[in-house]
Symmetry: D2
Subunit: 344 residues, 4 copies
C-alpha cells in the first residue's frame, strides 16, 4: 500500500506502508479521494505550526472518501461495496468532554495526520485505511467521491456557523476566501444569511467567492479603505468568519462588526495576534474560537449528498498520488489553487 | 458652585462653575458623594487613554449620589428632599441602538466626565448637578449616599456578568482585584457562582477580595505558576472577568478557561493586546467585551438598598472636595487605596 | 375610494370610504394587492376569535402592496412612483417594549384590520392608504406586487423561526400546511434545516408543501399512527412549527419532539388547548409562542425581492375587489385555496 | 436489612430485604436519612401517577444520605467511613443522550424507587444500599446527613433554574410553595433574583416561603385577584417556576409573565392541563419542562456543604423507619408538613 509521508519541510515521499490489522468493529476502506488541507500544507512547507511540530515521519491527510472493502465481525452500519466519507476524528468516548457532547475537545483525541501527540497520529493519504465503523459514513451512489471528500472541511465550517448563533436574516462578513473561507460563504448562504461579503488579498479566490454566492467580494490587498463603506453606525455585520489567520484582517473586521456582533476565528493561525482590544470592549464584540466539529460531519454529508451545498467550484484539480509533490506545490499557490485533491 | 476640573495631566483644580438652567423634566441635585473611577485617574495622570484625550478643561466624575433640591414642572418621578443615585448616561433615545434596548451603544451618547466627544461632556464632581429625572434614581433612607455612589461601577459589573451567561453553579476567575475586579467578585457571588478565584499583583486588594467572598485570592506578581493548578483537563473556569487590563493576565486566563468558556474583558485598557489566538481557537473560548450598562443601574441600586451586596469593604476613604488632589493621589496608589470618594 | 368592510359574520360589503388626511411624514399609497389572512377569515366567518370581537364596522386586510402616489413634506425614504410593500404595524415608539427592540409587544400597538382595540383599527383592503413613511418598504421593479403582498405573513414566519433557535442542520416538523405552515416550510428550508416534514388533514395543501420543499408531507386525518415512525428514541424533531391551531396536532407534535426540543406555536387559535403537560415536563420541551414580527419585515422583502424565497406556488387566485365575497368564500375552502388575494 | 416497601395504595410495609452483591466499582452505604418526595407520596396515596403505576412491590425513596461501609476493589473516589449524599440516577452512559451531556434523558435510565420500567427500580428507603461509586458524593463532616438528603430535590430545582436562563436581576414568581417550590425560592435567591414572589393555597408553606427569602408570599386560595397587581404592562415576572401542578396556577402565571418571559413547569403533574394558549402566543411566553438533573447534584452538595443554601426551615420532622406510615401521613398533610424525612 502506498502512502504520502512527510519527513521534513518540503520532504514529502510516496512510500510503502503496512495495512493495519482489523478489529471486530473496524472497516477496511479503499481510499479514493483526499483533499489537501491548510494543516497538511503547514507540515509540508514549515514542518508544523505554532508549537505543533513534526518529530517523526507522518502520513498526511484527513479529508477523505473511499469504498468499503471489508468489515469486522461486529460491524452493522456499513457493508463491503458501500461508498463512504471518512470522519478523521477518533475521540476517546469516555472523558468529560466526550460525555458532554463535545468530543472535539476530547482529552485523548486521535485525529488523522496530526503531530499534536507523540507518537503522531498517522494520516489518511494512503490507499487503504482501517477505521472504526462509526467513522465511515455512507453516501448515495450519485455523490462523487471527490465531493464526499469535502465533508470534513464543510463540517468545520458548519460547526463554525453554530458558534455565530442563528444566521437567518443576518449580514455576514468572511475574511479570507481560501478553501475554508469559501466553504464559510456557502454555509452562511445555507443558513439563510441576508448578505454575505467576502474579502481576500488575491483575485482568484475572490472570483470563486462571487461565483458561489458572495454578494460582494473585495480585494483588501493594499487598500486600507476597502471596508470603509461598512463602518457607518458602528459597523454593519452581525457575524464575521475570520478565515485568513491574519491579525490585520481580524482588526479590520472589528471595525465593521456591529455592537454585540460575533467574530468567529477559524483555523490555527501562526500563534499570537495583536488586537485592538478597546474596540472589542467598547462594541461588546464576542470573539469566539471554533475547533473541528462533531455531529456536523453527518450534516455535511447530507448537504453534499442532496446537492444543497455544491462544492464543485472549489475543486481546482485532482492529482494522482504519484504526483503528490506537485499537488502540494499547486495547493500552496493561491493564485492558481482553491482545493487540490489527491486521487489514491 | 465648586467643581473639580482637570486642565492637563496632574493639573486638577477646584474651581467655580455655573449652575446650568433647568428644563421641565430636569431635577437639580446637591451632589454629596463622588467615587473616583479608573477613567478619572487616567485623565488625571495621563490626560486620557487610547485615542480619548483631553482637549479642553473638563469637570471629572460620574459615580455620584446626592439630594434633590428642586424639580422641573413636568417631573413626576422624584421630589425635593429625595435622596438619589445618579445615572451618568444620557443616551439619545432615538437611534437604532436606543430603540433596540441597547442604549449603552447609543450613536449620540453623552456620559458625564468623558472626553470622547467635542465639546467634552462635563462631569459630576460638582456641588450642584442638573440632570433629567430619569437619571435620578431614589434610594431608601437607610442607604448612605457613599454606598449609593457605588451604583454606577456596580452596574458596570452586573452588565458584565450578563455577558458571561448564567453564573449559577459556575467556577469564576477574576483577574485584577481593583475596584472593578472586587465588584465583579461580589457580583459573581450574587449570581450564584460555585467558586470565585481572584488574582492581583498586590496584596492589599487581594486581602479585600478574600474578605468580600473570593474563595481563593492569588498574587501572580512574578509567579508564572500561580494559576498552574487550574490548568488540568484543559482548564477549570467556566467564566473569567478580566479586570486588570493586562495582556499577560488575559493570556494567562486563557490557559485556565475550560473549552467553551467565556472571558469577559472589562474596562478600556491602553489599547492593543497581543493574544495567543491559537488557544482561543483550539478551546473555542469566547472573548467578549462589556461596555457600561443599561437597566443594570436599577438593579445595582436595588442590591445596594437591600444590602444584598455590601460594598463597605471597598471604600478606602472619603476626602473633602477641597483636597481633591490628595484624593486622586491616594486613589492612584493601589497599595493603599481601593475606592476613594470625594465628599462634595 | 372603495374598501372591503366587514359589518357582521358573512356580511362583507364593498363601500365608499374617505381618504385620510396626510401628515408631513406620511405617504399616500395606491394599494394594488391584498392577501386574505386567517384573521380576516375569522372576522368574515365568525365575527372575530377568542375575546376579540367586531363591535363596529371595520375595513379588513393587512397583507398589502401598492404604489406611492404622494409623499408628505418631510418624507425622505420613498417618492411618488415607488412600488412598496406595506408594514401594517404601527407601534407607539415610546413604551418600554418599543424601547427594548420588541415593538411587536407595544403597549399601544395599532395594527391594520384589528378589532383588538376600540375604536377598531381600520384595515387596508382599500384603494388608497395613508401610512407613515417607515411602513412603506420599497421593492425592486422586478418583484410583482402580488408577491410583495406576501411580505407580512412571511415576516410572521421568519419571526417564528427565530423563536426556534438556529435551524441549520436541524430536523423540523410543520403541523398544518395552510398559508402560514407553507411559509414555515419555506423558512425552515431557507434557514438550513436538514429535514422538513409537513402535516395536514387535507391533500391539497400537502401537495403544495411537497412542491415547495417538504421532504415528507403526511396526511394525519383519521390516522393516529401517521407520525409513529418519528417517535423512536424519544422523538426525532429538533423544532416544530405548530400552524394548525389544533390541540390534537400539538399533542401529537410533543410525542415526536426530541428531549430539549422546541415547539413554536403560531397563530391565534380559538383559545384554550388541553396539553399532555407530563410529556412537556419529562422531555423538557419548550413550547413558545410567536407573535407578529419586527425587523423580519425587511428580511421578508429582501428574500422575496432576491427570489431566495419563492412564494408563487402559494398563490391560488387574484380576485377583483368587487368580488370580495367570492374571494373570502374561496379562501375559506382549504380543498381549493392556499392564499387568495384581492386586486384593488 | 429493613426497607419501606409499597405494595398498593396505603399499603406501605417495613420488610426485610436482601443486601445486594457488590461489584468492583460499587460501594455499600449505611443509609441514615431519607426524605419523602412527592412521587413517593403519589405511590403511597394513589399507587402511581399518570401512566406510571405500581405493578409489583417496590421499595420507595430516592432523597438519601448515609455512611460508606465498604468499597469495591476498584473504587477510588470514596472510602469506608466517608459520609455521602447519594445520587439516585443511574444513566446507561452509552446512549445518545448520555453522550450528549443529557443523561437525565437517558434511554435506559434507572432511578431509585421508580415504577416507570418493569421490573421496577427498587428505591433507597432501606438500611443498606449498594451503588456505584460515582453515585456517592462525599460531604464534609460539618454537614448533617439530614441536610445532605436535600441534595436530590435541590438538584432538581437548580436544574430547573437553568431552564429559565440567567436569573440575576430578574423578577421571579414561584407558584406552589411545597418542598419543590420552597427550594425554588432558595435557588432563585441564590441565582441573584431581584424579586421573588411565592404563592400557595395554604398558609403554612407560605410562612416558610417568607422565612426563606420570598419578598412576598400570597395565598391564592379562593382569591382570583391575588396576582392582579402584577398584571400591569402585560405582566411583571421575567421567570416563573410552576411547582403546584395546577392548571389554574399555570394559567394565572401566564397573566403575570412579561412578554418573552419563561415559565418552567416542575414536577410530573396528574397529566393533562388546559391552557390559555392564545396568551402564550400573544406574549411569546416560553413554557419549558424540567426533568431531574445532572451535574447540578454536585452543585447542590456544594451549596449545602458551604451553607450558602440553608434548607433547615424546610425540615418538618425526622421519623423513625418503624413509623414510616405515620411519616407518610404527615408528609401528605400540607397544613403540618413541608419535608418529612425517615431516619434509617
Amino acid at each position: 500500500m502506498k502512502a504520502a509521508v512527510i519527513h521534513a519541510p518540503l520532504d514529502l515521499r510516496i512510500e510503502d506502508a503496512d495495512i493495519p490489522a482489523m478489529g471486530p468493529y473496524d472497516v477496511r476502506v479503499r481510499i479514493r479521494a483526499g483533499g489537501i488541507c491548510g494543516s497538511d500544507l503547514h507540515y509540508y512547507l514549515h514542518g508544523g505550526f505554532g508549537t505543533v511540530r513534526l518529530k517523526q515521519p507522518m502520513i498526511l491527510g484527513h479529508e477523505i472518501a473511499g469504498e468499503v472493502m471489508e468489515v469486522g465481525a461486529q460491524v452493522s452500519r456499513v457493508q463491503p461495496g458501500d461508498r463512504v466519507a471518512i470522519n478523521p476524528s477518533q475521540p476517546c468516548g469516555h472523558c468529560r468532554f466526550c460525555l458532554d457532547g463535545k468530543p472535539n475537545h476530547c482529552l485523548d483525541m486521535r485525529f488523522y495526520g496530526s503531530a499534536m501527540r507523540m507518537p503522531h497520529v498517522q494520516g489518511a493519504f494512503r490507499e487503504v485505511l482501517v477505521c472504526n465503523e462509526v467513522q465511515a459514513v455512507p453516501i448515495p451512489a450519485a455523490l462523487p467521491l471527490e465531493k464526499a471528500a469535502f465533508a470534513e472541511p464543510l463540517a468545520v465550517c458548519l460547526h463554525a456557523a453554530r458558534q455565530a448563533g442563528p444566521l437567518l436574516g443576518q449580514r455576514v462578513l468572511v475574511t479570507g476566501s481560501g478553501p475554508i473561507g469559501a466553504l464559510a460563504v456557502l454555509v452562511a448562504r445555507q443558513a439563510g444569511a441576508r448578505e454575505v461579503v467576502a474579502t481576500d488579498i488575491m483575485e482568484a479566490p475572490l472570483a470563486i467567492a462571487r461565483r458561489i454566492g458572495a454578494d460582494i467580494a473585495l480585494n483588501t490587498a493594499g487598500d486600507p479603505e476597502a471596508l470603509t463603506r461598512f463602518k457607518a453606525d458602528k459597523g454593519r455585520f452581525d457575524a464575521v468568519f475570520e478565515a485568513s489567520g491574519s491579525g490585520v484582517a481580524l482588526a479590520g473586521a472589528m471595525e465593521v462588526t456591529r455592537p454585540g456582533g460575533t467574530i468567529v476565528q477559524l483555523g490555527l493561525a501562526g500563534g499570537e495576534m495583536t488586537l485592538p482590544i478597546n474596540m472589542l470592549v467598547a462594541k461588546e464584540i464576542a470573539l469566539r474560537g471554533t475547533f473541528r466539529f462533531h455531529e456536523e460531519f453527518a450534516w455535511a454529508v447530507h448537504f453534499l449528498a442532496t446537492g444543497t451545498i455544491d462544492v464543485s467550484p472549489l475543486l481546482t484539480e485532482i492529482v494522482p498520488l504519484s504526483e503528490a509533490v506537485r499537488a502540494f506545490e499547486l495547493a500552496a499557490d493561491r493564485t492558481r489553487a482553491m482545493k487540490v485533491q489527491l486521487s489514491l
